[in-house]
Symmetry: D3
């Protein structure tokens, strides 16, 4: 997910625009127009950092200098300094909260993603953790980028990059077989097809009909195993990827991983992440007049 | 927080635009152009609903019919139906996730706000729960509206509606007294002044200097009581409001409430809320051709 | 009112975009692509300058160099040079009118605001001159900033930063007391409450009901005095601010000031200001090829 | 100047967006969600009305009903009702000021334009009153449309619709002859050429070089006559239009008209118009629940 | 490619906005405000129609009534009526050109796509015609949708929906094998991988390294056959798709199809299509006053 | 057509934004974050180059260095280098297609315009080639600028810069005389009037009624001559410009030129141009770490 900086800059500035309103009246009344200052962002708890690239682009676009002490994806401990910012004091104080909101949301998402991913790696498994399209409204770019930084899979970026046949589509088509056939007739060769199924039998049907990925929706770990066995018996296990989704939490996740799925997707890492606490502190009040 | 519908509609459509990309390819391949359908939104867990007004405006702006079964602020139980949607099947399926993301984030925020507020009310106290500007980036409008629906206080809506003198402003001004004096010299009569302080003594100084609200930042409950006593002794307790902020969680919140503050503000209700789980289900597949 | 430069830059560029259309055809046909030039902005009449910060941000964002000879709020005389501009000749000529329109409107507003404010100061009074939301459509930021530069009060910046209960709200609520009570039940602690009243008696009721500010709407100076006396007799004069509004002009303004109000607000300083005449002149035609 | 309604609607909504901020907090706290109301706009002084089409499009786009009692360009007297508005009470109250700001600025411009135009007509002259590009920043569409409604000429709509060679262009080109020649070599056949001149001799040169319109800049009425005579003597008077501009006011305007120019342009009708006073009054508080 | 109508409407309105400028001055001067009219769009040459859905959404969003006589993808003959439009005469005349530009570009693209596709079908082959990202700047949505309507394949919709490793990426990575390996390490499971190759040997390497699709760039038909044979010999032909691209024209296209590729992509169908000639004619001048 | 660079930059970035989606996933996976590279744009066929200014502004706004080897309007041969680009490798690769699409469309338009213009010049005629408003949807600025670079006339830039009375306007007005009279009554002095006519007689009527330009629509060359003779006989030929339009192609164009029209306008140069083939090649893979 690489965006030319100017495009990302506009996304970031839209966020600032909402918070700033007609202007920062406190800063205007207290901070003189003509001083520079230096500030630091400090982690108030340990976690995985994400949003460094965003911070850099955001700050530089506001004519502030920026020096990161950590890279995206790095683990930090409590009280660790993350970056230095230097420049116009009024600008720094008026964008502080916007910057911290971006960094702490992204870092919170990277932290939980990393944690879950490590649990699986530590068990010697290869299952991938993926997010879903359950993100904060309008923040799909930032939420999914944070997942990738945390070592997870971004899944679909929006509604146009993979076919994902869900329950409601199947309801319209009649059954999963018909839905996949309909798709295969007209789909671009550049797209994969994933189909959501609700029984091991349908998993087999979806694989036979030509799905690239089968999503086992709300399966118990036992049903997952049953579905995999069925696919294996039909010589289809290696032709498709299997995603488990629905009702999977940090607690029961390992059972799904052990059952042999390729991907586990969890809505909660992007719709309910805990923000990583950080703060911005002025390192030197007023270095000198500009 | 009343926005004319057309203004809110544009905020909502910007959210949809990110998710939709160049279009919903799955729906285009499976769902015919010319059928209407009916869908329901169902709560998958109990909580306080918020976002009903947003859902209505969003759906109607997409030429879908909408009928809510619950009102903003209402408590719902697991499996309760929240609303019915009727109209073009392609449109409904392609906006499903955007709609659910808005509703479940707002409802998640309203739910935790209501829960904390009730705890205080149940103890017979009048302390208000407030959110901060720690929101999901760019979602201040939705996050704060959800707090208000949950019975909380929206605090500042952005940087232009109240003066809030924070640690970094005080560092620039020299001390809290100087900062308040500087502000009072030029501030519009239409704005309140709040000052963040780090000791009971500074709380007194801020009140004497003319702050309307004093924010006790990272005080222990004991320090809070000390500050309040100091203000009472100086006859200033009734002239100002006292907000406790920083390091307050669901666990220790009641100690602050009992210590006698007017407002308790918590970042976590808007920067780390748990989304309320919901789903959209097609009630009838294809009612009839349009 | 401090806006990070990039945000202000976009407001300014939107203004340019309307004027420029598909491009400046005159300049394209006459001025070569590759020459720099130097220009000066000159006041054609005396007044108070506002818009220097806007000019700086606007010009620098267009890659032009800028050097101001006066600061925002400074008084200038006829023919005084306000600033020098240096850079691409085509760009300078194509943005000339947009720049002058911004500077002369803002300076016109600052000039009249300063004039009225001085009249009051010269009489030894402390009454503040405030503007209203009667601005040129969509130019609230610029109009209000110019008022502040001229020494006036910005009043509400938009509809979300103070409660202002007007005649129509009172009509809906029933009476001013009910309106204030309704507001006080749910309002954020961060906002002030102002109520518009039409009689001295209602001024008292509003103060008793807890308004922070009472706006005496279309009162004669005699009625103003009556209202103030009533508030004094009830020990409420010092607890509230009094704003006189409606029908106040440069001519009768002093009578209101002498009657003892805290704030006088006039729509005409922002909805009918006289633009301060200025012109842009090329100082050197073509300094050198770039 | 006909804009399809949806395009105009967006211009109008951008204006509303600035004023509304995060929402109208007063209206939200006082006015129930579910009531309709009826309002009237009333002129508080006599003048020429402009902005009726804008009001209609703005209000209907907000799902309010609208019935005008006057048409654009009509003269109204003090206290005359201009239009009725019916619909959601919250929406009406939150857009009141935006609507009035548009109507009173446009009507103020139409009023002064009509007044000046009539003066000329009453003297039996055919000179046209034109505005310039000196408008409120970014409001060129509205300001110029109001001039046209008042019977004036819109002049250039932006920088791409006519070549207007001004002093600075001439300075770059060397002299007015060279400037016109340069333009004529490459200009599209679809555009007229106007040249600003500072002496009767240059007026002749410009006409000979092929200008369609000559602008006599800051000429005294006597110089104007001299220029016209010179053109007549050279048989060019009927081949070109003559515009007088610069330093023309309501007071000295008739001298220019009598001197025989075709067009008189005045910056002040769009950069310093007096807004026409109006107000919105609720006709019936709450007609009925919706 | 299904976009909710409101999203598509905005794309369409942006196109109109550029053409309309400050308004349609001709229509404003000639066509009264208050008449409705009926118009027809007529094909001036035979071809495949695309853009009917766009026309419908565009016209209805402008409050015009619309009735299509043909469907997207239908073949029409010269002088065939495509649709009727009914409503405000000013609006119809001012959007005529924008509407025709959209319809004739999309139909031109659909026409050439269909023609090429039929040639292949008539030869009994299954090769698919695909477009590339060589579209008119910013018109990817419309150009690709027209290709799909013409029976072609949309290929990538933008840079985020499939990995396509091109010559420059390979140059950076070192060789095609390294490039594919680098991609496979971190790519989301939801995306396919296509690699561009310049020799039959590299085609084999790419397939072995795990590409889903191999793009034979600027191969002669003989080289194509060689590459396919090599893949067959290694048992990989059925595991991948083969796209021929570069230097393929209407003239030599069949040789590539016969050589056995799965997909032929041509830049010219979207970067150099011939617009399908159409016109809008008023069927009845003025039906009646509105 | 000169646009200040920042305004043009935004048009260019909107084009990039559509293509980039949520980001360039291929480049992100293969190209390291921290390397610079150098690239060249090379013409793959001969033609006239246009878009150099656009390329410069686009690339510099993305913080890439740029050095053109050719100027807008220059003729190039196959394999000629057009420009060098230097900077961040990821940015270069992700904007390659957008840049090439702009350059090759504009150059294609300039090439055909130049070709037609030369044909006329070579015959010793002065007729001008003009484009129409038949452009790619929303690309009027780029298409018309390319025509001008190719030596053609831009015609109207949008609907507000000249009155062009077309068949449908005449149908509404009754006849061409009435239409012109209606326009002349209210039109701004700054605008020309062109009228489309369908017979030599109407050409005369239009000229007599005061049109500045007469457009002979779908005339045969013989009818054109008849119309010109009629105008000459009435002493009006020199008072107006004559444009031939409709059904004119590269093949029959010279007959119209020879018939004596001033302007020949062709839709096909902007609605059906052949893109000039170009490619971007990395000159040095990775110059050095940044």
């Amino acid at each position: 997910m690489f965006l030319p900086h100017k495009i990302l800059e506009e996304k970031l500035r839209n966020i600032l625009r909402e918070d700033i309103g007609q202007g920062d009246i406190t800063t205007a009344l207290i901070v003189p127009e003509d001083i520079n200052t230096e500030a630091e962002i400090i982690a108030k708890e340990s976690g995985v950092i994400a949003g460094i690239e965003e911070a850099k682009i955001f700050l530089e676009s506001l004519e502030l200098k920026f020096k990161a002490s950590v890279a995206d994806g790095e683990e930090v401990r409590r009280n660790q300094k993350l970056m230095k910012i230097f420049g116009d004091a009024r600008t720094i104080l008026s964008i502080e909260r916007t910057l911290l909101n971006i960094l702490s949301r992204m870092s919170g998402i990277a932290t939980i993603t990393r944690k879950l991913g490590k649990k699986i790696q530590n068990a010697g498994l290869k299952t991938k953790i993926a997010c879903t399209r359950k993100t904060a409204p309008g923040l799909s770019y930032f939420d999914k980028k944070a997942v990738v930084i945390g070592g997870g899979d971004s899944h679909r970026l929006h509604l146009d990059d993979m076919v994902l046949i869900k329950d409601n589509h199947i309801a319209v088509a009649g059954n999963v077989k018909k839905a996949i056939e309909k798709v295969k007739k007209n789909i671009s060769f550049s797209k994969k097809i994933e189909a959501e199924v609700t029984s091991p039998e349908d998993a087999l049907i979806a694989a036979q009909a030509g799905a690239d990925i089968v999503m086992l929706d709300n399966f118990s770990p036992i049903e997952v195993k049953k579905a995999i066995k069925l696919l294996e018996r039909n010589g289809l296990r290696n032709k498709i990827l299997i995603e488990a989704s629905g009702g999977i939490t940090e607690e029961n996740m390992m059972e799904y991983a052990k059952a042999g799925v390729d991907i586990i997707s969890l809505g909660e890492i992007t719709d309910s992440p805990k923000a990583l606490d950080m703060s911005l502190e002025l390192a030197r009040i007023a270095l000198a007049n500009k």
